[in-house]
């Protein structure tokens, strides 16, 4: 039996609301299947499953907000023993003895998704405090609305949750599972929490290097000549690929710091996408190093609109190992980033612009980009960062090899 937990989708996430189960008990699960939608401060995220097995039972109902790490469901992988612990045994022990749900699951007709439930303001507060799933109730108030009396009846009949979950809900008071797009304030708070943590805990050091982009730009121009507009490359795809290669050369920066450096096997580069409504999200380009520049471009074309529409998968939010922030055209010359914890580095690309550039005794005007690296001084020293920037420069001078 495998415990399927509320995933951590970033350093700033403390809890998530399970909005919808996409699979039902009894269904066969394959690695990569979307099992549920979870609402976080970053929007509605599709949660993938990384195990094979049969979905045994749900432990958290739709609409519940639970802390990261809470067991959401049990997946039967054929082994009797429960893998993963870190959670109270009681909850998990039960289903082993009674593999079939003992409580009649949704005896009343469940309110259809999207249908507005009529409930009095008072009843809603009492339901939230006592963790009653109002979609299961039938109202007896005006216009069939759910009123205080109905909630009290439900509580006395035990439609309520265990004490365990009640305690948890006390910790996370505000429950709102309404729209896919989080409000601007929630997003702001998420960014604030992550960046405050970063600035508070990570001793940053900064390095900067000016990179001649003439070869890279020529290569992009050449490559785009034969392409239809939809398939054209942007220089940023090349920059991302070059960073992936440089990380391969200097693996100490492709790591996390949690009381010690932990190098990551995969290079998944997170790319900062700013949202029109304010705030940022950082979806990952999975296994960036093994993707071609074309594939990275395709990935960007897919992931940026989805990030802006708050439609990312859990893996894309939780798996990044390093971050790139790129200013793009018409912006600042340089950007000095804050590391996204628990990562240990972030690279910032300013605008690529024409600058006087001295090379081999000659002064010329060339497209140039100012690259910065902010790195965690607990994990690495300046020499490592310097090696990384040098390696990055080298790769960008040989674009055809990328």
């Amino acid at each position: 039996m495998i415990k399927f937990q509320m995933p951590n989708l970033g350093a700033d996430m403390e809890a998530g609301t399970l909005v919808e189960w996409r699979k039902q008990p009894g269904e066969l699960l394959h690695r990569g299947d979307i099992i549920a939608d979870v609402e976080t401060q970053k929007g509605l995220i599709e949660i993938e499953v990384f195990d094979e097995g049969t979905l045994e039972k749900f432990l958290v109902k739709e609409g519940e907000k639970v802390p990261v790490g809470t067991v959401l469901a049990l997946i039967n992988d054929g082994k009797a023993e429960v893998s993963e612990s870190a959670v109270p045994e009681e909850e998990a022990a039960k289903p082993e003895i009674h593999p079939i749900e003992e409580r009649p699951e949704t005896p009343q007709k469940k309110t259809k998704k999207g249908e507005r439930i009529k409930i009095s303001p008072l009843a809603r507060i009492i339901a939230e405090e006592n963790h009653v799933d109002i979609s299961l109730l039938k109202g007896t108030g005006p216009e069939g609305s759910i009123v205080k009396k109905d909630i009290e009846k439900a509580i006395s009949e035990g439609v309520q949750q265990t004490q365990e979950t009640q305690k948890k809900t006390d910790e996370v008071k505000e429950v709102s599972a309404k729209s896919a797009a989080p409000n601007a304030n929630a997003m702001r708070m998420a960014v604030a929490a992550a960046m405050s943590k970063s600035n508070r805990e990570i001793p940053h050091y900064y390095l900067e290097k000016r990179v001649d982009m003439s070869k890279a730009m020529d290569w992009v121009k050449e490559a785009n000549k034969e392409r239809p507009i939809q398939k054209r490359l942007l220089p940023v795809a090349l920059l991302i690929k070059a960073v992936a290669k440089a990380l391969d050369d200097v693996p100490d920066l492709n790591a996390t710091w949690e009381n010690g450096i932990l190098r990551k096997n995969e290079i998944n580069i997170g790319f900062v996408v700013s949202l029109r409504s304010g705030g940022i999200v950082v979806p990952a380009i999975l296994q960036t190093d093994s993707k071609t520049v074309d594939e990275i471009m395709e990935n960007l074309n897919d992931i940026i609109p989805r990030a802006r529409a708050f439609k990312l998968k859990s893996s894309e939010l939780s798996q990044s190992t390093f971050t790139i922030t790129s200013i793009g055209e018409g912006g600042a010359d340089k950007v000095f980033g804050l590391i996204y914890p628990p990562q240990v580095g972030i690279v910032g690309f300013g605008e690529i612009s024409e600058q006087p550039f001295a090379d081999e005794g000659m002064l010329g005007i060339r497209p140039v980009v100012d690259v910065t690296l902010a790195a965690d001084h607990r994990a690495t020293d300046g020499i490592i960062g310097s090696k990384f920037l040098a390696s990055l420069n080298r790769h960008l001078q040989n674009p055809e090899e990328l």
Binding site: S120, P121, L122, A123, I125, T140, G141, P142, E143, S145, V147, K148
Partner: protein, 328 residues
């Protein structure tokens, strides 16, 4: 508490007038037919003999004129009680009340108080037809600078005037002509009542009936009858329509979680509109259902008895409404 006495609403008002006149020589009553005729509704009957024509003053049929004279007298240090026979004629005095009485403290930079008390007969129920049956409390309650009282009980009939006379600012008192002959028991030592707060007249836990004026006894009667239905209704008499005491009715709603506002004035832009707005603003999350109201039907008040009765909330309407709200 000591003994109680049985008294009509009319007699309670008369005793109040007599008491304030005995207490303070500056007090005088002025109004149409208050002297020789004894008052259009016999409220001041006998007072002329007791206090003389200087203090029980008949005035010409000119509401604007004599109300203005009353305001002037109060500015000059007297303590006039101006009786506007009924609210129906008060429109003619409105310029004086709204533009002078209500504003002079402000316009004089705080130098001039206007301690005038204006009493008006009010309400429906005597088959006086469309022009003589108005419930215009909302008009007056709209105006900052006025204190607007609604006399819904015999205790308030006996006591509100006493407190109003102490006010440095203009007070408009609405009395309900329909209730003049109604007899009730009040404590024999009844006297001044405070005029800043609404009052919970009956405690209950299931619903708040919020009302004023002629609605008060109707709601109390309905609440009594609702006991048989197992419904425990609380009755709140607003009493002070301006400045409105929201604390009292908000506390009641927060306790019962349901509310019905009952008034005889026309529904739109009324006292109930204001009460419900404040409940929405300040007690929304305590509500267990929509706030509802029973108000005057928005028609010119009809003359025939059955139609007149049908144009305002009756006890049976309140019963039916509450049952529908709590046992849908």
């Amino acid at each position: 508490m000591s003994d109680t006495i049985k008294i009509t609403y009319r007699e309670a008002i008369k005793q109040a007038i007599r008491e304030v006149m005995q207490k303070d020589e500056r007090v005088f009553l002025m109004g149409e037919d208050v002297g020789n005729y004894g008052g259009a509704f016999a409220v001041s009957k006998g007072l002329l003999k007791e206090f003389g024509a200087d203090r029980i003053m008949d005035v010409p049929l000119s509401e604007s004129g004599f109300t203005g004279a009353g305001i002037g007298a109060s500015l000059a240090g007297m303590k006039p009680i101006v009786e506007v026979m009924t609210v129906n004629f008060s429109l003619l005095a409105m310029d004086q009340i709204f533009n002078n009485a209500a504003t002079l403290l402000h316009m004089s930079g705080g130098q001039l108080n206007v301690p005038v008390v204006i009493r008006m007969g009010c309400g429906i129920g005597r088959q006086l037809a469309a022009q003589h049956s108005h419930s215009w409390e909302p008009f007056f309650a709209h105006v900052p600078g006025l204190i607007v009282l609604s006399v819904g009980t015999h205790e308030d009939a006996r006591g509100m005037l006493l407190s109003a006379m102490e006010s440095p600012d203009p007070v408009v008192i609405f009395e309900y002509t329909f209730m003049l002959n109604l007899e009730k028991e009040i404590p024999s030592n009844s006297g001044a009542v405070e005029i800043k707060k609404a009052k919970v007249l009956r405690e209950g836990k299931d619903i708040s009936l919020i009302t004023y004026g002629a609605g008060v006894y109707k709601c109390l009667e309905a609440a009594e009858a609702l006991k048989e239905e197992g419904i425990d209704a609380e009755v709140v008499d607003l009493r002070v329509l301006r400045p409105m005491d929201e604390e009292t009715f908000l506390a009641s709603v927060k306790k019962t979680h349901r509310a019905l506002v009952v008034e005889e004035a026309w529904k739109s832009i009324s006292i109930s509109s204001e009460v419900i707005s404040r409940i929405m603003e300040k007690a929304f999350f305590d509500l267990d259902g929509p706030v509802e109201r029973l108000c005057g039907v928005e028609v010119p008040i009809p003359y025939p008895k059955d139609l007149e009765d049908a144009s305002i909330p009756q006890v049976s309407d309140i019963l039916e409404k509450v049952k529908k709200m709590l046992k849908p």
